[in-house]
């Protein structure tokens, strides 16, 4: 395992060799003992994760088949119904939100992947100042999304935003960036790409530094150009890393909430209304818990299906990572 700035801790001298052949008792009982310890170690984690995440997911499924009403000190399930899903499927707003979320996910993840790989290639070849540049890249990534949304809202502001001023100076007229559907979607994507590309870049870089150098030398000896080397040698080796980065980004982008909530509130109209925004509005603005849970459940289902399809496609890479 190679790392960029510091070597991993050296393996200390092997004391096991010095200890010599001490007998281990019954191999079966030792193994059982280890298995029990294994469960004792994973148990708390599985319990916490299970109790706090799986239960709400199941509860959400139940809620999506009910009509719920808030009371002074809790809530009351008034009846069970499939009407929430019927309403969902009939709703043009839901279809638009789904379409927007998918479109947004595909475009931003693709752009982040391309730009992130490019940035990683640059960083890999860079000599001086790499540590500082990478630290700088980490700042947008660690920025609170709400803050970066406000920041881009300020940059896009129709009367005194930096971008508005720039377009006015260059094009001679100032567009209302967050005022029309297409430019609002584009503006939101840029804000997302700005914040998240560094994350992709650093993960891809982690793959790049671990690539097998010999293959590159072989490629060079074979007289491959830089471009073909990238496509035929570098990229195939990066597939597992890129696979994981893409999976993470797809699922994060699919649940996008903070950015439109602050930047556009889903507007203009419903142009930037993601599934999460629609779900939130239905749940907490219209206090329509049943249909809101139906949106939440269907979104979760889509994510799961997506995830499984992805794992299938990248099975070899993922299991390779697991076994390593």
């Amino acid at each position: 395992m190679k790392t960029l700035e510091s070597a991993p801790p050296e393996a200390p001298p092997n004391r096991a060799a010095a200890a010599g052949g001490k007998s281990r008792g019954g191999p079966g009982s030792a193994r059982r003992q280890r298995a029990r310890t294994g469960w004792a170690y994973t148990g708390p984690t599985l319990f916490v994760v299970g109790a706090v995440t799986i239960f709400p997911i199941l509860f959400s499924v139940v809620l999506s088949f009910t009509s719920v009403r808030m009371t002074y000190d809790g809530f009351r399930i008034e009846s069970f119904t499939t009407g929430n899903y019927a309403a969902l499927l009939q709703s043009a707003e839901w279809r638009e939100a789904l379409l927007f979320t998918v479109f947004y996910t595909v475009v931003t993840v693709f752009a982040e992947l391309v730009l992130g790989t490019l940035a990683a290639l640059i960083l890999e070849r860079l000599g001086a100042g790499r540590g500082w540049i990478m630290a700088l890249l980490l700042v947008p990534w660690s920025l609170i999304t709400v803050v970066s949304a406000q920041l881009w809202g300020y940059i896009y502001d129709a009367s005194y935003g930096l971008a508005t001023w720039f377009f006015d100076a260059v094009l001679g007229h100032a567009p209302v960036i967050l005022g029309t559907p297409s430019s609002a979607v584009g503006g939101m994507m840029i804000a997302d790409i700005w914040k998240t590309t560094p994350f992709v870049a650093i993960i891809v870089l982690s793959g790049l530094v671990m690539l097998d150098r010999d293959v590159f030398e072989a490629a060079e000896i074979d007289g491959l150009g830089a471009w073909s080397t990238f496509w035929r040698v570098t990229l195939p080796q990066l597939r597992p890393v890129i696979g994981i980065a893409v999976l993470f980004r797809i699922l994060q982008a699919f649940g996008i909430f903070d950015l439109p909530f602050v930047l556009t509130q889903g507007g203009p109209g419903t142009a930037t209304q993601s599934l999460a925004i629609l779900g939130y509005k239905t749940l907490f603005q219209n206090l329509n818990m049943g249909p809101g849970a139906a949106i939440a459940t269907s979104t979760a289902l889509l994510v799961l299906v997506c995830c499984l399809l992805f794992l299938r496609a990248f099975r070899s890479q993922v299991s390779e990572g697991e076994l390593r």
Binding site: R15, A16, T37, V52, S60, Y160, P198, A245, I295
Partner: protein
Amino acid sequence: MKAMNASPGTSRAVRRRRHPWFNLVNLGALILVVVTALPLYWMAAASFKSQEEIGANPPTLFPTNPTLDNYGDAFGTNSLGHYLLNSTVVALSSTAVVLGLALFAGYALARLPVRGSGTIMVGLLMISVFPAIAVVTPLYLVERSLGLLNSHLGLIIPYVAFHLPFAVWIMRNSLVGLPRGLEEAAEIDGASITRTLLSVVLPLARPGLFTAGVFTFTATWTEFLMAITLNSEDSARTVPVGIALFGSEYSIPYGAIFAGAMSATVPIAILVLVFRRSIISGLTSGAVKG
């Protein structure tokens, strides 16, 4: 690029391969730095501008009359100090609990014969990326029944549960790469598994713990949807919620927002810069990618 077709005299080739790239790489790096830094600078500058200057057209590159009014507004009228305290308590506690649990679970999954560990890993991965909107209503209703809303604990519990899977994933992958020799030696010396883990593995596991810690802290520090839903009352708000709901007589109080943003970002940015070696080596050591 064409230079690569030249004869394979190693040192020469390296030099010749690097040379044409040199400008392109540096140019790319420059663009990267400018594009990343410009919006950050814009935020920093705006936090020191007066309300009039923030709304000036054309915009001013530097604050003409630098002022700390926005910071006063953020900490005074908008009780940012309180939000920072809430965020710090919630993020630090969540991170501590997550790391404690993830160390043991990660070790078990890396070293101990846990049946179905592959399934567990995939299951954990899925949960770690589950959209928060899918669980926020039931969490809200349950926490309300238990009286946990608008409390630190009410946020820490779901944060631990939802960020634990990724931390376990990181810990497991970083532990799996460690040499086994020491552990075996300790065991042969008769140390229990727990003792081995704490005294032998733990010191070696620091890079992985560090990476998992950075991820968990960042994720909990920036989390918004659960925070705005579960802790909506002013006294319980975290920084992201507080900043999103900053009230003022202006429709969007950018000055106070950016002053708040700077106050919440600068400490983190300084930590990132100070620890950049550990963070970057942790992030690029392969622990993240699996």
